[in-house]
């Protein structure tokens, strides 16, 4: 069985795209439709990698990323942000949350702005899992 990769995105088209790329490259995809569900799966399945959207219902990728990176049991799981939100805004949001009294978190291991080409996503995954 290939390494487990969790895709957290509320857009079914994007989930289908990511899952197809993952399966074609021999990984085992897991899926979540929002940040809340994503966190539950991260905790229960301990995936090898998370591909994370930012703007979602219930809990955004901004908060889920912080949950992962501030939990000693999860923080080593690499995260690829795959979003329409720019990297600059994402990093500013993390800075703002740290200034409001949150813990400092590292930058995500990779950041891809939607839309991406299949090979672009595959390369980012490969770079983090091999």
């Amino acid at each position: 069985m290939g390494k487990k990769v969790l895709v957290v995105d509320d857009d079914p088209d994007v989930r289908l795209f990511s899952v197809t790329v993952l399966e074609e490259h021999g990984y085992t995809p897991l899926e979540a439709t929002d940040g809340e569900q994503g966190l539950a799966i991260v905790k229960s399945e301990q995936p090898d990698l998370v591909i994370l959207d930012v703007l979602m219902p219930k809990e955004s990728g901004v908060r889920l990323f912080r949950h992962i990176k501030t939990d000693p049991k999860l923080q080593k799981i690499p995260v690829i942000i795959l979003s329409g939100i720019t990297q600059k805004s994402f990093l500013r949001s993390q800075k703002a949350l740290t200034e409001f009294g949150g813990a400092a978190v590292p930058e995500p291991e990779a950041y891809l702005e939607k839309p991406v080409e299949p090979e672009e996503l595959a390369t980012a995954i490969r770079n983090l899992l091999h």
């Binding site: 703007l55 219902p57 955004s60 908060r63 500013r92």
Partner: protein, 293 residues
Amino acid sequence: MNIKKLLFVTKFDDLSFDALQSLLVLRKASLNHVVFVNVIEREKVSMHRGLGYQKIEEIRLRETANIRFIDWAETLFEQGMEVGVYIVVGNMVRQVFDAARKEEADLIVVGRSRKRFIDQLYSGSDVTEVLRQASIPVLVYKPMPDKIEVLDRPFERILLATDWSPASLRAEAYLRPLNGIVEQVHVVHVAQEKDLKGDNSMTVQKVRKAAREKLEEICDRFAGVGIDARAHVYVGDPIKEIERAAKDCQATLIVLGSSAKQEWVERFLGSVPQNIAEKSDYPTLIVPPPKPS
């Protein structure tokens, strides 16, 4: 009650980002999460003879909304806010309540643009249903009279209409924790003309005085939490007089409590809160009855 999570329901022409920005003052009252909701009406993408289901149109409408929300969300994320989004096809009222339930929102904000009367007849019905069915407070946002732009500070000068009912008390209780945001509350009671019938002027004055004293008690409770409050008694039709009072006080927002009347009564007769929310020129916040246990 703290307002932590706000559901911002928009069709973009009725409620834009400047309206939301004016509500960010609620961060002082613990607001930290905004959820955008855009409902694509089913008839815009539904089956048409010879065309089938208009998937391409649905994608276009979804992505148009998504592009706007991404832009708005970036601004909010950068301020340390949490942001969520729902872009859904279906019945507006059902989808709004569905999102409110999933998100456990504390406040629903809907817009009502300044439209021609005939347009209001149609667009008003969704707002009416949201007001009728809501179990959490609903803010009906509107451009201010004689202005195209929205207010900078909608919670600055509030007109609280009261009849001392449990619904009115709930509206009052909802506002008190907003000290630091609300600068002034004008507490207004509209006496009905039939209440003022007496055989001499003293009898009539007694009614006014009694109302005034009860209003002063409310003002004292606001003063106790640092909110300046003024009492006013008006006489006549509640809907017209509340509107008149809002104008006199230069109110930025009208706040009313709504009661749990039997649905058929409201459907046929309407209620003062609903009528104000739908017809008034002023933004209106309706605090609903508590959920049945």
